[in-house]
Symmetry: C2
Subunit: 407 residues, 2 copies
């Protein structure tokens, strides 16, 4: 039996099973001989190039899908994002049950300091110039905040930085520690606009080098210290702790450790903000993402995020779910990425390009379909003067003329 | 040895131990012979009337304090609220540890439907006219929302009702179910201002009778159905689920049951709001409150609240901690209560009056000192059109002239 001959009854049965396992989304599978399962029209279809790929899908699910898509053995007809969104949205109780079981069996890659460095290196050290092709000018690689849906990505990332600072009510001269600072945009924003002293940690060498250079350019070296180090390396006492887009990489085996670090880092009047991709139910990361994109990652539920802080008696002050904002952010990224796709392909090859396309499109679909959430959680030591209302948070987001980055 | 003779060295040692157990607050204990432990001046002091009371404090803690205060065997010199606030705020790691242990041993009164009815009856069926002495005109017995700290209680309760409806984005014609509706203020507000159909449950007969009468007066009988029943009695499907100040009475043994009820009650597009007194760490209710004021009560942490919803895959959309608003609400209640204290005492006796004074003052102190939180948690089924920003929530709270209750 050749792998390339016509599909058999077993192949077609397997395809139907695959769809049923996904909760029967309105996305037919088209087999290598052109047969569609089920046989009906739909705005989007998934073409499976050969029997080997079909079997791999049956055996390895998401991981096989991603790898086969990247390799071109799976093609998606129609709008990639919408097809994935339909798959993620299919009423899939059986899938959720299956993944619950999976979580019990699941062991994410460990994330001790050394492994964390390897995990992070794999994704963030691809080269600053790769990310510069499609991120905003400040190089912010986390969910933006769009005051209106039609705001530009630049404006929305500025608003996000500003929003985080507003939530923390930063005052001039305060000491802030940031865990997982990316290319340094938030650290620089806090120092420049709010006059605070920042110590920012990151284990990506490429990012830290970039951030230090930006600090030099903007004359902020005396107020922002970028440290090549893990959150577990944080030393000293600070008025505020902030972490945007790091908790996903911490791994839930290390949540307790992170809570301890936060408690040790904060003064008696301290407060903090955790910003993280989350889930509504505890589920392992998509198998392909966990293996190929973000090794060691785990997106916590709000219950789990609250559990990081609970042992230390912090008051949770405010939680905002910015899910639609991450879908919008990713739409911008994908659009920019596609504009530079030829360059990416020339430099990194076709498979890499298809891989990133799937990752960005799949992430849009995941946020649109509620598979992912984005929790921004504000917490504080018991405070004498808590915020009265959210009115100050709702003020318009208007960058001042003097914003150096706006030049 | 007479109980009324001078204090012994053992008595004084015990008093010091008591203070140490509380984390050494700046509140000296004055023994029956006038000796102060420690011997220094302070803005507030606690007078212990006899040796029996001292021993009871050592043995039963909070419960003995409350009972002795109500009976007049303990007097507080200085501002009652401030003294209690100082006691609650004392850095008391040892106390927290002790209470953690207590929680493991602790078994709150069970809260099956029958016991829940008895528990609720004990507090809420004291007579509507008792509560009318000091609640606002709408009879709202939960945390208000003060757009500014100097808003009147009337305006703040109106704003709270409005705020809850805004958060839920109620639309005319929708069906709403309310679990634990008190005297019906929110149910009536939702129907009157937002044109929704409300089914509201409560197990307090006195409250339900009052609520039905109000519905008749306001011509809302066709749109608001008040049902004498437990949250477990909810039948039917609704667009929104709302519960303000009931979760505290549910008891954590029944959180899973409540989650199941919410899931069963909501349509595929449904959403809901849980408003509850909370904690930053899992602790049993103050022993005196649990025994004398709210039998069977337990105030959950945010982690525990999120845990009610997590098994059902609801997205948590927004969490707001209204802790300072409950302190302010209680300040209004205590002030109004004191104005009518003579009437209360005449009708219910001195012990009852002192008991309520301690309960209200202690609650102010608990919210001010962060011993209690107030979580307002908004959740939803995965939604196609989630709220974009909180801007609509921040709009001014201006009752229309036609507000019937404003007449």
């Amino acid at each position: 039996m050749s792998w390339f001959c016509d599909s058999t009854r077993f192949d077609r049965w397997l395809a139907r099973k695959l769809l049923a396992r996904l909760g029967d989304p309105e996305v037919p599978l088209v087999l290598w001989d052109g047969r569609s399962i089920p046989d009906r029209s739909a705005p989007g279809r998934v073409r499976i190039g050969d029997r080997r790929t079909l079997y791999a899908l049956a055996q390895h699910g998401e991981l096989a899908f991603g790898d086969a898509y990247a390799a071109g053995r799976i093609e998606v007809e129609g709008d990639l994002v919408r097809v994935l969104e339909e798959i993620f949205s299919a009423p899939a109780r059986q899938r959720i049950r299956a993944r619950h079981t999976a979580l019990r069996r699941h062991r994410a890659r460990p994330s001790t300091p050394r492994e964390a460095r390897d995990n992070i290196h794999q994704h963030y050290d691809l080269g600053n110039d790769f990310y510069q092709l499609w991120l905003d000018e400040r190089m912010v690689y986390t969910c933006a905040y769009f005051p209106t849906p039609d705001a530009s990505l630049e404006a929305a990332q500025w608003a996000k930085l500003e929003y985080v600072c507003r939530k923390l009510r930063l005052r001039p001269g305060e000491r802030v520690v940031e865990a997982g600072c990316g290319w340094g945009a938030l650290a620089l924003h806090m120092a420049e606009r709010f006059g605070v002293d920042v110590t920012a940690y990151n284990i990506s060498t490429a990012q830290i080098a970039f951030a230090r250079e930006r600090a030099r350019e903007r004359g902020l070296e005396d107020r922002v210290r970028f440290v090549l180090g893990d959150y577990r390396d944080i030393r000293g006492r600070f008025d505020a702790f902030v972490s945007v887009g790091m908790l996903e990489h911490v791994g839930r085996e290390h949540h307790a450790e992170l809570g301890h670090v936060i408690d040790a880092a904060l003064t008696r009047e301290g407060r903090g903000l955790l910003h993280s991709i989350g889930r509504s139910q505890p589920l392992p990361m998509n198998g392909w993402i966990e293996r190929r994109i973000f090794p060691g990652s785990y997106c916590p539920t709000l219950r789990e995020m609250a559990g990081v802080l609970e042992p230390w008696g912090f008051d949770v002050v405010d939680v905002e779910n910015l899910r639609p904002h991450y879908a919008r952010t990713l739409e911008h990224w994908l659009e920019r990425f596609e504009k530079r796709a030829a360059e990416v392909e020339q430099r990194f090859g076709a498979e890499f390009t298809r891989c990133w396309r799937l990752y960005l499109a799949g992430s849009i679909a995941a946020f649109r379909s509620s598979s992912f959430q984005l929790f921004q959680l504000l917490f504080a030591r018991p405070q004498r003067e808590p915020r009265w209302t959210r009115e100050d948070l709702c003020a318009p987001f208007v960058p001042e003329r003097s914003e150096r980055c706006e030049k």
